[in-house]
Amino acid sequence: MIPGPFDYHRPLSVAEAARLLLTLGNEARPLAGGHSLIPMMKLRLATPEHLVDLQGIESLRGIRRENSRIVVGAMTTQHDLLASNEIATSLPILHETALLIADPQVRYKGTIGGNVANGDPGNDMPALMMTLGATYRLEGAADAREVPAAEFYQGAYFTALEPGEILTSVSIPVPLAGHGYAYEKLKRKVGDYATAAAAVILTMAGGKVASCAIGLTNLSEKPLLATEAAQAVIGTSLDEATLKKAAAAAQAKMSPAADARGPVEYRKHVGGVMVMRALQRAAGRAA
């Protein structure tokens, strides 16, 4: 399993990396942790002629607080996220989700930027970022723009990234103190992509749901926000009937593929179960 030949570049700045990607064109790919791209290259499903390795760009690493937001550099690894007290305290759902990604070795290499930018519907971070209302910073050689996660995904492996653009950081609004959260992921084994997964962020007031967002992973060709399901639980105490209603509303948006993880009906069924479990667990954690 030897990948096809390519030329290797290790730029030291975002501007230099963006210029390289623009000049080298479609046959060039940025390389972050490489744990999606390299396996694809070994299978020759990807045969880039140039790899632009981003590991030498110091500014792409790190987690910092900017007022009411947490900004995470694209080359920050899942392992870095798990080691961060800031994340554990301010964004515990990000900690919980990172723990469910792949395995320890992969988490040392896998980056948040690669996870969200690749457009793989199986990745866990995209739906979570949509649930949290995060935005992505996309930088080209000359300019930069911010794109909401909810507007970034266009289809499997198709995103809002333009040629020569690099996703450089993720900016996440810190959820309100006392919020409840849960990421429920059904997978066949450690390291597997989700058969179905749901992210929930909510707040409670007087025993009733005051605000709620629900995201869905690997239940469509792109990550989904289950807006109607979230609407359905607001003002309720998450009784049995409401949970079922929310699951049904979420299922109406799902269009999973039938694959080794199960037929469509099964994946939609367990997708609904993940939504109900995530809602209940999140409510139990809300102050």
Partner: protein, 166 residues
């Protein structure tokens, strides 16, 4: 494609070589450096047999290009023994607790467990099992691998290894 000059530290020694950019780190280690203790198992980032320690991280060397490791500090199973050549606490643990049968996964298990104990010197059983969840063993059912790591943790911490009551 042009070959690239790479230089890195492997088990404390400076090494260098000319590699095609597509050369995987595991092939550089096994074929160029002739360090064949690092095994190739699945070649698909699942099994962990090819795990090496790279700049303080456990990585699957079948999923890293040698050029990515240019400038890195790497430890393989050949670098795991004590400086005087005696078995490290982990190696001793695998021997004493029968932490292997066929031995194919062992280099990856020991290198991974080394980093786990660096980060968490006193892991409980669940933390050990979670910590080695990127390494597959098809012989032992993991029971004795967990005991081997518990043995090593106890030895490193200067404690007597006590097996949990059945």
């Amino acid at each position: 494609m042009t070959k690239t000059h790479v230089k890195m530290k492997v088990n404390g020694a400076e090494v260098e070589g000319l590699v095609e950019p597509r050369t995987l780190l595991v092939h550089f280690i096994r074929e160029t450096l002739q360090l064949t203790g690092t095994h190739i198992g699945c070649e698909t980032t699942h099994c962990g047999a090819c795990t090496v320690d790279l700049d303080g991280a456990s990585v699957k060397s079948c999923t890293v290009f040698a050029v990515q490791a240019n400038g890195a500090d790497i430890t393989t199973i050949e670098g795991m023994a004590n400086p005087d050549g005696t078995l490290s606490a982990l190696q001793e643990g695998f021997r004493m607790m029968h932490g292997l049968q066929c031995g194919y996964c062992t280099p990856g298990m020991i290198v991974r467990a080394h980093r786990l104990l660096q980060e968490n010197p006193n892991p409980d059983e669940e933390e050990i099992r979670f910590g080695i969840s990127g390494n597959l063993c098809r012989c032992t059912g993991y029971q004795n691998i967990v005991r081997a790591i518990q043995y090593a943790a106890a030895k490193i911490n200067g404690a007597q290894f006590k097996e949990a009551a059945e």
